[in-house]
């Protein structure tokens, strides 16, 4: 692999992982804001309106960051991955175009009304704007996942005479069997994250003894929604997604599990370190037969190990393995914590258990890590392919951009994003410290 391929990969990895921190929250928070706006409109209760305004402020900051860090992603298809764009532009242009036309315009236009329109437009149109912003965010997630699902499992294409791929069927692209469970898993993860953020911020207010009513609303909504979505993150969305990986990307599955030997009744590795020199999992803690069951629904099923594939077809085994185990481990931890919250709620002790509120407060970073780790599994596990089975990553880069140029821009992005990250966290903390409006219309600053 040449220097320029490594530089291009680092730049894309870094910029997309930083970018994704923001859509996680906006995609997840948007439907929760709709719920609050609906309660406000239905019950005529200004407290829900104040809560919706508070979360809309958090949403707006994250949305702006999502837009700002999202533009470089679309640019990089052309600037750094020109051969990929020339090869697959006829296909990924369709899904990215659908995203631009049907979701970005919708989302940004109605976010304008949501942020600037209160008091200017009718309450009903204001409510509708929150619904359309959520619809835009979720459509955007759909089309970008459709683009990724095509790279994971290409369908609906045909190879043209010049060697590029062209669209065969747009319906096949959107009906990709890989797409819908992946989409469900991604969006479910976003809602789970937003719910945890909500619970965490609410826990802060209860611990600090400020805005108690708003704090209780946030903790209740966060724990309630979070518990449900933590469970559905594992089953069915996570489970069905890994079945798709089993069916379409068996090498990735073997890397995720650190499975080298093909086995009937393959074990599920809980701990252990995969070694690509010794071709085995070092120091493993395993549950016998469970991987076979998870992958194929039968404890005796055969699961192919990495040794059955040439090493040139392997992804980075360790990275895939650790990222997968981090994701699953944190997901399990979130399920445990949120179910504990539901149990306390059941006993009427949720808002008074300071120790548990502390747990909620400190839970905040973990859904982010779990989401990012999940994408690392998905993308690193797809290597060495850029488009699975069709285009290798090394063949996708821009031949006319030197490694030095990309390293120069990587450093530029690193500096800029370090500053942006610090400022965003700082401003988000300021929003939280200021708290929700106490009166319904105390908005003017």
């Amino acid at each position: 692999m040449t220097d320029s391929v490594i530089a291009d990969r680092i730049q894309f990895t870094f910029t997309i992982m930083f970018h994704y921190l923001f859509p996680i929250l906006t995609m997840g928070l948007a439907p929760l804001i709709v719920v609050l706006k609906t309660l406000e409109l239905r019950r005529g209760d200004a407290r829900y309106g104040a809560a919706a305004r508070f979360w809309t402020r958090i949403f707006a900051l994250n949305f702006a960051m999502g837009v700002i860090t999202g533009i470089p992603m679309e640019f990089q298809f052309g600037t750094n991955w020109a051969q990929f764009s020339a090869f697959a532009g006829g296909i990924i242009g369709q899904t990215l175009g659908l995203e631009g036309v049907f979701s970005f315009f919708l989302e940004s236009t109605f976010l304008g009304i949501l942020l600037f329109g209160e008091g200017r437009v009718s309450p009903r149109l204001h409510w509708l704007s929150s619904v359309l912003v959520a619809a835009g965010a979720w459509l955007s997630g759909l089309f970008i996942t459709a683009t990724n699902a095509w790279m994971q499992h290409p369908v609906g294409y045909r190879v043209a005479a010049d060697g590029t791929v062209q669209i065969g069927s747009l319906a096949a692209l959107l009906g990709n069997p890989f797409l819908w469970w992946q989409y469900a898993h991604v969006m479910n993860g976003a809602v789970l994250s937003a719910a945890v953020v909500m619970a965490s911020v609410g826990a802060y207010y209860l611990l600090a003894g400020r805005h108690l009513e708003f704090g209780r609303l946030s903790v209740a909504m966060g724990v309630g929604v979070g518990a449900v979505f933590a469970l559905t993150q594992l089953f069915p969305t996570g489970d069905m997604n890994s079945r798709n990986v089993t069916a379409y990307q068996p090498v990735k599955l073997a890397a995720m599990e650190g499975l080298f030997e093909t086995r009937y009744g393959a074990p599920l590795a809980i701990l252990g370190m995969p070694s690509t020199t010794e071709h085995r999992l070092l120091d493993p803690v395993e549950v016998p037969d469970v991987l076979s069951y998870v992958a194929y629904g039968s404890f005796r099923a055969e699961v192919k190990g990495l040794n059955d594939y040439p090493e040139a077809e392997w992804p980075l085994v360790q990275l895939t393995y650790y990222a997968y185990h981090i994701m699953v481990g944190l997901g399990t931890m979130l399920i445990a914590a949120l179910l504990l919250g539901v149990a306390l709620w059941w006993r009427g002790a949720l808002f008074a258990s300071r120790w548990f509120l502390w747990i909620l407060l400190l839970l905040l970073p973990f859904p982010y890590i779990a989401n990012e780790a999940g994408w690392v599994v998905s993308e690193v596990g797809r290597q060495p392919w850029l488009v699975y089975g069709l285009l290798r990553t090394v063949a996708g880069v821009s031949p006319n951009v030197a490694a030095g140029e990309t390293i120069f821009t990587v450093l530029g992005f690193a500096g800029m994003y370090a500053l942006l990250g610090v400022l965003t966290v700082f401003l988000a903390i300021l929003i939280v410290l200021r708290g929700p409006d106490e009166g319904p219309m105390e908005r003017a600053r």
């Binding site: 837009v67 640019f75 051969q83 242009g93 175009g97 109605f110 009304i113 600037f116 062209q166 300021l430």
Partner: protein, 338 residues
């Protein structure tokens, strides 16, 4: 189908230039026409609800090119690697400044973001002009079909004059937008600025027309072959005159329409001159990327046309809803997010 998508891209580009053009122009004027915090907030809230949706048109141009002419997108974007990264960082600077400024009510914090917002808008306006100046000139595509844009040659005098012109034109366009959206001292300053900018724009229109005749005669071929298209540059000239008459009568809405028309006419005139080239190759014209040799498969282009048309109708519908919701002068009392 290639030609249809060439027209689609031209329309998207016109949409971007007219819509984001005014908020970039407003940004370039920001420091000079708005002198205190209330005025600056008025300026920012005037574009606040719409600038983000306006910027989506740029994404539309990029993705439209990827979809319809993948090879041209790939060669152009990678060839102009560093200049595009600069555009990217300027776009980011503008967006950050808009969102970050209002969070802390401190004059230094706000002043700093005002400068970031204004300077990045100003440089963007210049760079867009330079970019158009270079694309119509042509790039050195090698025998494998790629090129590397070089800074020194990008900043040639023709392109630099285009950059200055683009800045003046977008500032003029933004000034009329501010005239429509504001009142009081801010309105008067925007009106005065528009008057001065109009003379610069009118002068540069003449200079650049002559310069194009002399330096870039290749752009005129289509006009000699199909003289009916000369109506487009004539329409641009008419917009310049109409703008002055509207300005004199203080009919700023009409002047804004005229500046929109001028931007649209100039871009269409450029597109007519460039057709069928997407990326002209110099000195080997046979390596050029055209609507014929860079297009994606006809099936894909037709499929995309089927979703694009209802999509654009929807976009226009909700943009109309948005602009109507915010019609009239900006008020800072209710619903001012910035």
């Amino acid at each position: 189908m290639g030609t249809f998508w060439f027209i689609v891209l031209a329309v998207l580009l016109v949409g971007y230039a007219v819509l984001d053009g005014f908020d970039i122009g407003v940004g370039a004027l920001h420091l000079t026409v708005a002198r205190n915090d209330a005025e600056r907030r008025t300026v920012l809230n005037a574009i606040g609800p719409v600038w983000d949706a306006n910027e989506v048109w740029l994404l539309g141009v990029g993705v439209g090119a990827l979809l319809a002419f993948p090879r041209a997108f790939a060669v152009g974007f990678s060839g102009f690697y560093l200049p595009l990264m600069i555009v990217l960082w300027l776009l980011m600077g503008r967006g950050i400044a808009l969102e970050f400024r209002h969070h802390i009510a401190d004059p230094l914090w706000q002043g700093a973001w005002d400068v970031v917002f204004s300077v990045s808008s100003l440089l963007l306006a210049v760079l867009y002009g330079v970019a158009i100046g270079n694309i119509v000139t042509g790039v050195p595509i090698d025998e494998h079909g790629w090129f590397q844009g070089l800074f020194a040659s990008l900043l040639n005098p023709y392109a630099l004059v285009m950059g200055v012109f683009s800045l003046a034109l977008l500032m003029l366009h933004g000034a009329y937008y501010l005239c429509v959206k504001t009142d009081g001292a801010l309105h008067e300053r925007a009106h005065l600025a528009a008057g001065r900018l109009w003379s610069i724009v009118a002068m540069l229109v003449v200079v650049l027309t002559v310069a194009t005749f002399v330096l870039r005669p290749g752009l005129l071929g289509n006009y000699w072959a199909y003289p009916v298209w000369l109506l487009v540059p004539l329409a641009a000239g008419w917009c310049v005159v109409a703008m002055w008459r509207a300005h004199d009568r203080r009919r700023h809405g009409a002047a804004f329409l005229a500046s929109s028309g001028l931007i649209a006419a100039l871009l269409v005139a450029t597109a007519v001159g460039a057709y069928p080239y997407l990326l002209r190759s110099r000195p080997f014209p046979e390596r050029s990327l055209t609507v014929a040799n860079a297009a994606a498969s006809p099936a894909g282009l037709i499929a995309a046309a089927f979703w694009l048309i209802p999509g654009v109708v929807l976009i226009l519908a909700y943009q109309i809803v948005a602009y109507r919701a915010f019609a009239g002068k900006v008020r800072l009392d209710g619903g001012a997010h910035y």
